[in-house]
Amino acid sequence: MNANRFRFPARGAHLLFAGGVLLLAAMPFLADNYFVRLATFVCMYGALALSWNFIGGYAGYPSFSTAAFVGLGSYVGGLLQNAGVPMVLAWLGATVFVSLFAALLGGAILRMKGHYFAIGSITLVEVLRMVASLWVDVTGGGDGLNIRILDGGPDFAGRVFLYAMLAVMLCAWATTLAVERSRLGFGLRCISQNEEAADMVGIDTNRYKTAAYTLSAVYCGTVGAIYASWVSYIAPTDAFGILLTLKVPVMAMLGGLGTVYGPLVGATAFVLMEETIWARFLDYHQAILGVVIVLLIFFLPGGLLKIDYRRGLARIRSAAWARAGRATATEVR
C-alpha cells in the first residue's frame, strides 16, 4: 500500500513536474545567465540521476560507472565534432556509441554481484580515464581536448544547451515511466528483491540486468556529449571524475530509489544545496558533501519522497493535543 503510492505517481506529482519543466524552460526569459546555467545543471543531473536509477534503483545493483559513460560520451562527442560532424549528430553518435559499449560490457560486468560489481564499475571509470590520458594521439592526453565554441554569443548558447539538457531529461523521464509500467520494471524490482527467486519464476535476469545497465548509460552518453560542447574543453580527470560517479547515486538516494520522481527531486535539491551552501566554502566542498552523505544515510535512508509527511503531521498534531490536554488538566487542578 505504502509502496504503491510511490510506484504509480499520483496526478499531483505529474502536475508538479509539468510546472517544474515549464519553469526550467522559461528560465531564459525570467532571469539572467547565472540562473540559466543553474537550470541547465538541474536538467543535466536530473537526467543522470534518472539514468542511474534504472540500474541502481530498480535493479538494486550498486553501479558507480556513471562517470565512465559521461566521460566516454563527452570524448566521443567532442572527437566527432572536431572531425567535422554537426553538433547534434555528434551528440547522437556519442549516444549510440555509449549505448553499444554498455550493452556489450553489461553482459560481462553484470556477472558480478554486490561489492564485486561496485568495484568493477568503479574500475571501469579508472581504466577509461587512464586510456584517455595515455592515448595522446587521439584524445590529446592530459592536455585535454578543445572543442569549437558554438557561434551566436553566450545568451544563444546558454539557451541551446539548456533546452538540449532539458530534452534529455524529459527523454529519461519518459523512459522511466515506460519502464515503470512495463514487464521490465516489474522484473527489475524482482531482481532487486531476490535475484535467485526472480530467476526461478522465469525472469531472464541476465537480459533484464543488461537492459537496465544499458538504459543507465544511454542518456549519460548524450549528457556527456552535450556537456563537452557546452564547456568546449574536456580533460581526462574531469570527464571521468570520481566525484561525479558518487554524486549521481547520492542524488538518487536523496530523492528516493526506484521511484520516478525521486531522482529528479534529489538532483534538484542537491544542485540547489551545492550552489547556495557549498559554493561559500570552497576549501571544504568535498567534506561537506561527505557530511551530507553521512547525514543522508543515518537520518533519511529512504530519501525525501519516502518521508511520510502525513504521519509526521499527525504526530505533531497529537503532541499539540497532548500539550493542550496537560494544560487544561493543570488548570483544573
Binding site: 558480478m112 574500475t123 590520458s133 595515455l134 547520492v250 568535498q286 561527505g290 552523505i293 544515510i297
Partner: protein, 287 residues
C-alpha cells in the same frame, strides 16, 4: 641477467608493501562485508603523521610506526563503533556510500591541513650491492617491517583469543553470536586493525615513496586489485596477491612505462572479476 634480477627484487620490495596495504582492507571486507573506502586515506594519514613528526621533532619513523598504529587503531575502532556498525547489515550501496562519504571528509581535511605537496622522509641509510643488483637499505627495511607486520597479524588471527573471534565471525556471524561473541565489538576491533595496518603501511611508505593526498584513490585501487587476485579475508591471500601485483607492476613498469603499469593492474582485475566473479582463490559466499 642482472636486469631481470633487479626487476624481480624491485617487484618483491614493492609487493611486500602492497601486501601490507591490502591485508587490512581484505580483512575488513571479508569479516564485515564492508568495503572500506577510507583505506587509502588512512595510509596517507599515517605517512603524513610520520613525516611531520620527523620534520618538526626529528622523531624516527620507526618510533612513529608504533604511535601511528595506536592512533589509527583508535580512530578506526571509534568510526566503526559509532557509525558503520549502525548500517553494517544493510545493502552494499549503503555501506559503500557511507565509507565513501567518510573518506571525502578525511581526504578534504588532510588536503586543508597538510596540502597535497608530495613529501618523503629521506633517511640515507645507504644501499646494498649484490652482484650488480642494487637494494636501497631504507626500502629493504620497509619491506622487512611490512612482512613482519603481516606475519604478526597472521599470528594474532591464528592464535589469540580475539583473533579466533574475528575468524569465527567471518565464518558464520550467527553461530558466533550464539557462542557468546559480541559481534559489534569484534567488528569494531577488526575495523581498527584494518586502520592500524593502513597507518603502519603509510609510515613505511613515507620512507620509500613521496606521500601525497592525491594517491589515496590509487592506493585504494591497488587494495582492490590485490583482494581480487588473492581472495578475501585471509592473510596468505593478501600476501600472495600483493607480491603478485608488485611483480606484475615491476615487469610492466619496466617494459611499458609507469602509467601503463597501473593500467595493466586494473585491466587484469577487470578480466579476473569477469571470469572469476568470486576472486581468483576466493571462496563462494563473499559476493
Amino acid at each position: 641477467m642482472s636486469l631481470y634480477a633487479q626487476i624481480v627484487v624491485n617487484g618483491l620490495m614493492l609487493g611486500a608493501l602492497y601486501a601490507c596495504i591490502a591485508v587490512g582492507f581484505s580483512l575488513v571486507w571479508g569479516v564485515l562485508n564492508v568495503i572500506n573506502m577510507l583505506h587509502g586515506s588512512f595510509i596517507v594519514l599515517g605517512g603524513y603523521l610520520a613525516y611531520f613528526a620527523w620534520l618538526h621533532w626529528q622523531v624516527s619513523p620507526f618510533v612513529m610506526l608504533l604511535a601511528v598504529s595506536v592512533g589509527l587503531f583508535l580512530l578506526g575502532f571509534l568510526l566503526q563503533y559509532g557509525l558503520v556498525n549502525r548500517v553494517v547489515s544493510q545493502p552494499v550501496l549503503t555501506t559503500l556510500t557511507l565509507t565513501f562519504g567518510l573518506d571525502m571528509i578525511l581526504y578534504n581535511l588532510m588536503n586543508v591541513w597538510f596540502d597535497a605537496t608530495p613529501r618523503r622522509i629521506s633517511l640515507d641509510l645507504g644501499r646494498l650491492d649484490l652482484n650488480g643488483v642494487i637494494v636501497p637499505n631504507d626500502r629493504l627495511l620497509a619491506m622487512l617491517l611490512a612482512l613482519a607486520m603481516t606475519g604478526v597479524l597472521y599470528l594474532v588471527l591464528r592464535s589469540s583469543r580475539i583473533g579466533r573471534a574475528i575468524v569465527a565471525v567471518r565464518m558464520d556471524r550467527d553461530a558466533a553470536t550464539l557462542m557468546g561473541i559480541r559481534v559489534g565489538r569484534v567488528y569494531a576491533i577488526t575495523f581498527g586493525i584494518g586502520a592500524l595496518m593502513a597507518g603502519a603501511c603509510g609510515v613505511l611508505m613515507s620512507v620509500v615513496f613521496p606521500i601525497t593526498t592525491n594517491i589515496t584513490g590509487l592506493l585504494l585501487g591497488k587494495a582492490f586489485v590485490i583482494c581480487v587476485i588473492g581472495g578475501l579475508g585471509t592473510v596468505p591471500g593478501a600476501l600472495v596477491g600483493g607480491l603478485a601485483l608488485g611483480l606484475i607492476e615491476s615487469v610492466a613498469g619496466n617494459f611499458l612505462g609507469a602509467q601503463s603499469a597501473i593500467l595493466v593492474g586494473s585491466l587484469l582485475m577487470l578480466v579476473l572479476l569477469m571470469t572469476r566473479p568470486t576472486g581468483l582463490i576466493g571462496k563462494r559466499g563473499y559476493q
